[in-house]
């Protein structure tokens, strides 16, 4: 089964006239262009790609996009509910400018819980590109502009678009900051497991024989181990005194130590089938070196598959980090990741009174779904025999 058998026969000569017909374009399109055309047809996958890109954009510029410093405490607004955006000012007149109402705290006489009601007599307009808390973009440039905020005049006014947590920190800012850690851990983890996977899977598939046998047994063994108890055990082994960046790195290594098997299998499978292809044989007869055969002839023809597999592996990594941190075995505060944020939502009673604590989970679900759809679309596009 080679790609040639299914590809349409090449026309003998270029059709007459300068008009490049659509048909002609298909014949001369590169492999990547064909894939892009196919991917484009998968509507859901395209939308998902936009969503994923949006989340990564937010993660990249989280300091700017977050309305406030995620660690800023405000003791007078604990567990404040999300403030709705309102287009009616304090006099009840309609305005074209969005704004928020102030919050009045009051204590429930029976349960002694503090509840907040919107104060309709105070209306603060929401501005874009306003001055707010100082931060360092990417730890380099000192800035104080934020995408949205109430401006410097209303510094003490509560601005919690997605509510606030136990210590009165802004949930929106925390979710935005959490995106950076949660989304990057998937990338770093997959990059690590890809290195393991390509090297071991490549060796296994290219050389075959004894080496292949050993590596396959190791993969099988790792796959028979129950992953989550194993993660838990490995994560519990991280010294509690480590600084956050070490823990972050440790967690990614743990995730990729067990995650490489899937990618290794894909790489091996592709190598095995490609090794028998005519064009590889031809290259070998032409006297190409091993390295040239692998990197010039074989890798390009399975690269798209690998990319699709990677896309499907990233959400698993994100999910694993979230699960581990949620259990208290992964990242720990003061690091902000979605899993760490969800830890606050472990107690049902707390969640029942402030359900917005579950919002980081919504972010997780959206990203996971988007990644899955995107990977699905890519896998279909990369498959030359697909429908």
């Amino acid at each position: 089964m080679s790609a040639q058998t299914t590809a349409p026969a090449l026309p003998v000569a270029k059709p007459a006239g300068a008009g490049r017909t659509a048909e002609w374009e298909i014949y001369v399109a590169s492999q990547w262009r064909l894939m892009w055309w196919r991917f484009r047809k998968h509507r859901l996958a395209v939308v998902s790609t936009v969503i994923v890109a949006f989340f990564y954009f937010v993660a990249l510029f989280c300091e700017f996009i977050a309305p406030a410093d995620p660690d800023k405490l405000s003791s007078s607004y604990r567990y404040a509910p999300p403030q709705g955006i309102s287009f009616f000012d304090e006099n009840g007149n309609f305005t074209w400018w969005p704004g928020v109402y102030g919050l009045i705290p009051s204590r429930d006489p029976e349960t002694l819980r503090i509840t907040y009601t919107p104060d309709h007599s105070q209306w603060y307009p929401v501005y874009f590109f306003v001055q707010g808390d100082r931060y360092k973009l990417w730890g380099i440039w000192e800035m104080d502009r934020h995408l949205i905020g109430l401006g410097p005049e209303a510094r003490d006014v509560p601005f919690f678009l997605l509510g606030s947590d136990r210590l009165g920190r802004d949930m929106l800012s925390r979710i935005v900051y959490g995106a950076r850690i949660s989304l990057s851990i998937g990338l770093v983890g997959v990059a690590l497991s890809l290195i393991f996977g390509i090297i071991l899977g490549g060796i296994s598939g290219y050389y075959g024989g004894m080496v292949d046998n050993i590596i396959q047994r190791v993969i099988e063994f790792i796959r028979t181990l129950p992953t989550i108890p194993l993660w838990m055990a490995l994560a519990a082994a991280l010294p509690p005194k480590w600084p956050p960046e070490y823990v972050y790195f440790g967690i990614t290594v743990i995730l990729s130590l067990l995650g490489w098997t899937g990618l290794a299998r894909v790489v091996r499978g592709r190598f095995l089938s490609l090794r028998e292809e005519d064009f590889v044989m031809a290259a070998r007869f032409c006297g190409c070196s091993e390295a040239r055969i692998i990197f010039r002839h074989m890798v390009p023809s399975f690269l798209s598959h690998i990319i699709a597999s990677i896309t499907l592996a990233i959400p698993n990594m994100i999910l694993s980090e979230t699960a581990l941190s949620f259990l208290g075995l992964g990242l720990r505060p003061p690091v902000i990741s979605w899993g760490v944020l969800l830890q606050e939502a472990q107690n049902v009673q707390t969640v029942a009174f402030s359900p917005w604590l579950l919002l980081p989970g919504v972010a997780v679900v959206i990203v996971i779904l988007a990644f899955n759809f995107m990977g699905d679309g890519m896998r279909d596009a990369a498959d030359p025999y697909g429908r």
Binding site: L225, L230, G328, V348, V365, I368
Partner: protein, 328 residues
Amino acid sequence: MFQYVIRRLLLTIPTLFVTSLVAFILIQLPPGDFLTNYAAVLAQMGERISDEQLRALQEAYGLNQPVYVQYFKWISGILLRGDFGLSLEWKMPVSQLIWERMGLTLVLTTSTLLFTWLLAIPIGIYSATHQYSKLDYLFTAIGFVGLGIPGFMLALVLMWIAFAYFGQDVGGLFSEQYRNAPWSMAKVIDMLKHLWIPMIILGMEGTAGLIRTMRANLLDELNKPYVNAARARGLPEWRLILEYPVRVALNPFVSTVGWALPGLVNGGTIISVVLSLPTAGPLLLRALQSQDMYLAGAFILLLGTLTIIGTLISDLLLAWLDPRIRFE
């Protein structure tokens, strides 16, 4: 067939050995041991423990011996006497702590597996035979969402809804009065009443995946000429589908039994922690956090064994279903 079974059974022995080794290495990995942890906790409470006392404790628990001696003692105790050692935290034999929990884990996983199949196979068949119908789209959508939502998130949300809107605490497997009661018929019935929520949460992901597999497999089969031939001969449609294509489509299903069982044990660990089920997960988490090594080791070993047995069962089932496998 016989030869294959023997070979497959023999292969599990080294796997089990390596698993036990991994389990032991894992419980040795954390820096310090239970006693340093214990001393730290005591120090926090303002109590001090003398070096002599520590050494005596070390002696008593065998913590001062070389690692391989500790491993040998540990594994021989398990194999020869079924003795998993002493839980350092609970001050009682590990075997007293784990069996009930492992049993409940097994009950939960098997019932989830059955539930998953009972749901996924008919839906998969329906989806494939009624491709692009409204219900097919609905099942596809549910399937994708089911695959995307992490189980523990679903558990959290369901618990919240049950608590906030129905005033019910859905956590646990037993009602208050049965929690510490000895086993009886009433307790079993009570457990069955509680079992369905974790079962649904745990089974959701697997069900969604299996529906997709079943649908795809069956769709591949339905287009084959033999189906048309059978139809041309006037076989009733339901018999035609159930008798041939479904059987072929079920084949890859069986090969996933091996993955399904470990997958459920895996997913179950976190979901059990969220729902505070009296299964292996929460106790394992606690044991890992307090470095109660023998308890943690026993759980990891048993969960690993469960997984290996699951893979074994699926391999044997597959060999029985598909003769080609045996001769590989």
